[in-house]
């Protein structure tokens, strides 16, 4: 860090000297003007004898304005000069007028004391007034800065805008802001040292200070306790203003990030919605040709007169059409669930009858399977959306049908557990690798174990997961060589009606 100070000292030494010279010149001028005025009064009282009794008051008339406008030390110099002038002329008058006391020490002492006290008080009032003015000005600048940062265009990175605003509003010589997140430097005004190094050092060494000698203030930009960048300014501002400035800049960066994040989420949502819409319309468009193909192929079979080979081919067309139709339906279902709003119609539903109906509606699919239903509580009621829950169970059962070992049973269970109703579909099939147990619920993901075994799209289980999460529930799977595979869905018993 100290490395940063060396060039600064040499770079700003000249500037400091220049400023000191200007100050001395101003001080001398003010003193000289005061002394000239004292001399004029001295001469006047010397020539116009009747002014003599009020001479001291006349000197005070000079000293007080000097103290008010120029300062205590200038007033002191002028007071001493007044004492000198007065002593000189009194001495001269004593030579011509023996009645005059050449040096009344009491009068002299009283005069100096009065002059100095008045000077001190006046200077203090002036200083106070000046600092109030300056503080008021800085408050105004801060207010303006706050206003402008709030109106800032957050569609673009705010760093450069902030640097320029600080430079303009606080009338600084130079500003540099470092955004640690993007590793970017934004500067305004003229730096005769490398501002990047300057700002980065402040960030890395977390050094916040105000250097009165160089006029440089350094601040680490923080959000809470986390440093997010740094600010270095050169100019005339108070430490308090610098702190406020740094906080405002940090907050603006934070606002920008929140805004950018929100925009990104919105864009993703729109993309997802577009995808769902395209999927939906595509799936709908597929239905017509599918209907024509199915009607035509089954029509051919009905017409008869086909050779065994022809009949086989025709039934192949029918089967594949059914598969394609199933896939299209699944795509449609996903598109619906992914669409912007799924309106949940949660009503109290008897769990046993729900499972029975789902199984009954899948009787074709389950024709070759053994199905066992185990709902211990016949009266168990769950407040849920029947359509979504049917979708969930359909997917679980469909999945079980695909992977179950021939001849084994598929068992459906629903039990109340604490504040949830846990649905489960159990079957014996290939073990699902541990690494896949969560990911199989992701859309389009297919277990490495399954990709070559059964037809599927990797959509079904994601639909089940979505149906559960819409109910504030969750899904998981347990898989074991001996115990088989069990897909679970836990749905809170008091499902709130909500839109997702």
């Amino acid at each position: 860090m100290s490395g940063a100070y060396i060039p600064l000292r040499s770079a700003f030494g000249e500037r400091r000297l220049r400023a000191a010279g200007a100050k001395t010149l101003l001080f001398s001028t003010e003193c000289a003007l005061g002394i000239v005025s004292v001399l004029v009064v001295g001469f006047l009282t010397h020539w116009l004898q009747w002014l003599l009794p009020v001479a001291a008051l006349l000197y005070l008339l000079i000293i007080v304005p000097v103290a008010l406008w120029c300062g205590f030390w200038q007033a002191t110099v002028v007071s001493l000069s007044a004492v000198g002038v007065q002593s000189y002329f009194t001495t001269r008058m004593a030579s011509t007028n023996p009645a005059a006391d050449p040096a009344n020490p009491i009068e002299l002492f009283a005069f100096i004391l009065t002059a100095l006290v008045i000077s001190r008080l006046s200077a203090r009032v002036t200083e106070h007034g000046r600092s109030s003015d300056s503080w008021g000005g800085q408050m105004q600048d801060l207010y303006e800065f706050t206003r402008r940062t709030l109106q800032m265009n957050l569609h673009v990175e705010p760093g450069l805008q902030l640097a320029e605003l600080v430079h303009e509003i606080f009338a600084l010589e130079a500003v540099v802001i470092f955004d640690a997140d993007l590793h970017e430097i934004y500067q305004a005004g003229y730096w005769n040292v490398d501002p990047q190094e300057l700002a980065q050092n402040v960030y890395y060494f977390e050094s916040s200070d105000d250097d009165a000698e160089t006029g440089i203030a350094r601040r680490v930009l923080r959000l809470g306790n986390v440093p997010i960048g740094s600010l270095v300014i050169r100019g005339d501002t108070s430490p308090l203003t610098n702190n406020a400035m740094a906080s405002l800049i940090a907050v603006t960066f934070d606002r920008y990030r929140a805004f950018a994040n929100e925009s990104r989420i919105e864009t993703e949502r729109q993309t997802e919605q577009l995808r769902a819409t395209v999927l939906d319309s595509l799936a709908h468009e597929y239905k017509t040709p599918l209907t024509a193909i199915r009607a035509a192929s089954t029509g051919l079979s009905e017409m008869g007169k086909l050779s065994p080979g022809q009949a086989d081919l025709v039934s192949l067309i029918s089967e594949q059409t059914d598969l394609l139709n199933e896939l299209t339906t699944k795509l449609l279902t996903t598109a619906r669930l992914d669409a912007d709003e799924v309106i949940v119609h949660a009503v109290p539903i008897n769990v046993a009858s729900l499972i029975d109906e789902v199984v009954a509606s899948m009787s074709e699919r389950l024709a070759a399977m053994k199905v066992e239903i185990d709902v211990p509580d016949d009266e168990l009621v769950l407040c849920c959306d029947r359509r979504l829950m049917t979708m969930l169970l359909n997917q679980y059962i469909d999945n079980a049908c695909k992977y179950a070992i021939y001849g084994t049973a598929i068992t459906l269970r629903a039990v109340q557990s604490k504040r949830e109703v846990v649905f489960s579909v159990h079957s014996f099939g290939p073990v699902i690798p541990i690494a896949d147990r969560e990911r199989i619920f992701d859309r389009y993901y297919r277990s490495s174990n399954s990709s070559n075994r059964a037809p599927g799209t990797g959509i079904g289980l994601s639909v089940a997961k979505r149906a559960a999460t819409i109910h504030n529930g969750y899904v998981w799977v347990a898989s074991d060589q001996d115990e088989g595979n069990t897909f679970y869905a836990a749905i809170p018993a008091q499902t709130q009606k909500r839109e997702s």
């Binding site: 008897n350 109906e357 070759a368 070992i405």
Partner: protein, 257 residues
């Protein structure tokens, strides 16, 4: 009923679907005419006689539902089968409420369509059944006058409401009865929304009349629409399919994994 006499009017805006239906239906001895819009269908119905109308629900112009409404205004008994899509449950229910005889969901098989056409036509031409005449479907026999039900000649004990539901479904066997219609018939119009209530009763009923309630053959569910009681023809085709499935699975054991 002579099959050749069945005159079909297929109304669908998709030429491919009309084309796919035309050849097989003509070949199988039906008379086939087609229209691409509801308006055109209404004109054809006014100018000629038909035995059954296949009516697509989603069509440009006045659409299937409005066409059905207008057909019912002048032909209350003409069998109308709606062609619908899988997720159009509300439309299916609306069509049934407006007097459609049945619906088939796209993509349908020609065999299924023909079965539905025959059922619908047969129903219109069948002599009116006496209110309290016994109904026998498969192994289930229901005698309204005695309020008794037997399965394989063994009595099945039903509660009053269960009997009412079963009677309502069996007396219209083969047809889908919407939840609202069934609820109104059994509990009255005030209860037409209480589908959950109905489901619980149907569940009990299935336990009493089905061999395997998880694979019902009599009391079938039309998801989100209603229930239907299988008619003799459906029972037979279900039997055929089951036999077919078991044959297939016998041939390739273990393929299901």
């Amino acid at each position: 009923m002579n099959q050749a006499a069945i005159r079909i009017l297929a109304v669908d805006d998709e030429p491919a679907i009309r084309r796919a239906l035309r050849a097989p239906l003509l070949e199988l001895g039906f008379q086939f005419n087609e229209a691409s819009r509801g308006e055109e269908a209404l004109q054809l119905l006014h100018s000629g006689a038909y035995d059954v109308v296949l009516l697509d629900i989603n069509m440009p112009g006045i659409g299937g539902i409005e066409t059905l409404r207008r057909i019912r205004a002048f032909a209350p008994r003409l069998p109308v089968l709606m062609l619908t899509v899988r997720d159009g449950e509300e439309e299916k229910v609306e069509a049934l409420e407006l007097g459609a005889d049945d619906y088939v969901t796209k993509p349908f098989s020609t065999r299924e369509l023909i079965a539905r056409i025959r059922t619908a036509v047969r129903r219109v031409h069948a002599p009116a059944r006496a209110e309290d005449a016994p109904i026998e479907i498969g192994e289930i026999r229901l005698i309204p006058s005695k309020r008794s039900v037997t399965k394989r000649l063994l009595p099945v004990h039903l509660t009053r409401k269960e009997f009412d539901i079963l009677y309502c479904l069996m007396s219209r066997a083969g047809r889908v009865i919407s939840y609202a219609k069934l609820l109104t018939a059994v509990w009255g119009a005030d209860c037409r929304e209480e589908v959950e209530y109905l489901r619980t009763f149907v569940r009990q009923l299935r336990k009493k009349i089905e061999d395997d309630p998880s694979k019902p053959v009599y009391l079938l569910t039309d998801v989100y629409v209603g229930y239907r009681f299988a008619d003799a023809q459906m029972l037979q085709s279900n039997g055929d399919e089951a036999a077919l499935v078991s044959n297939e699975t016998d041939q390739v054991p273990g393929n299901a994994s």
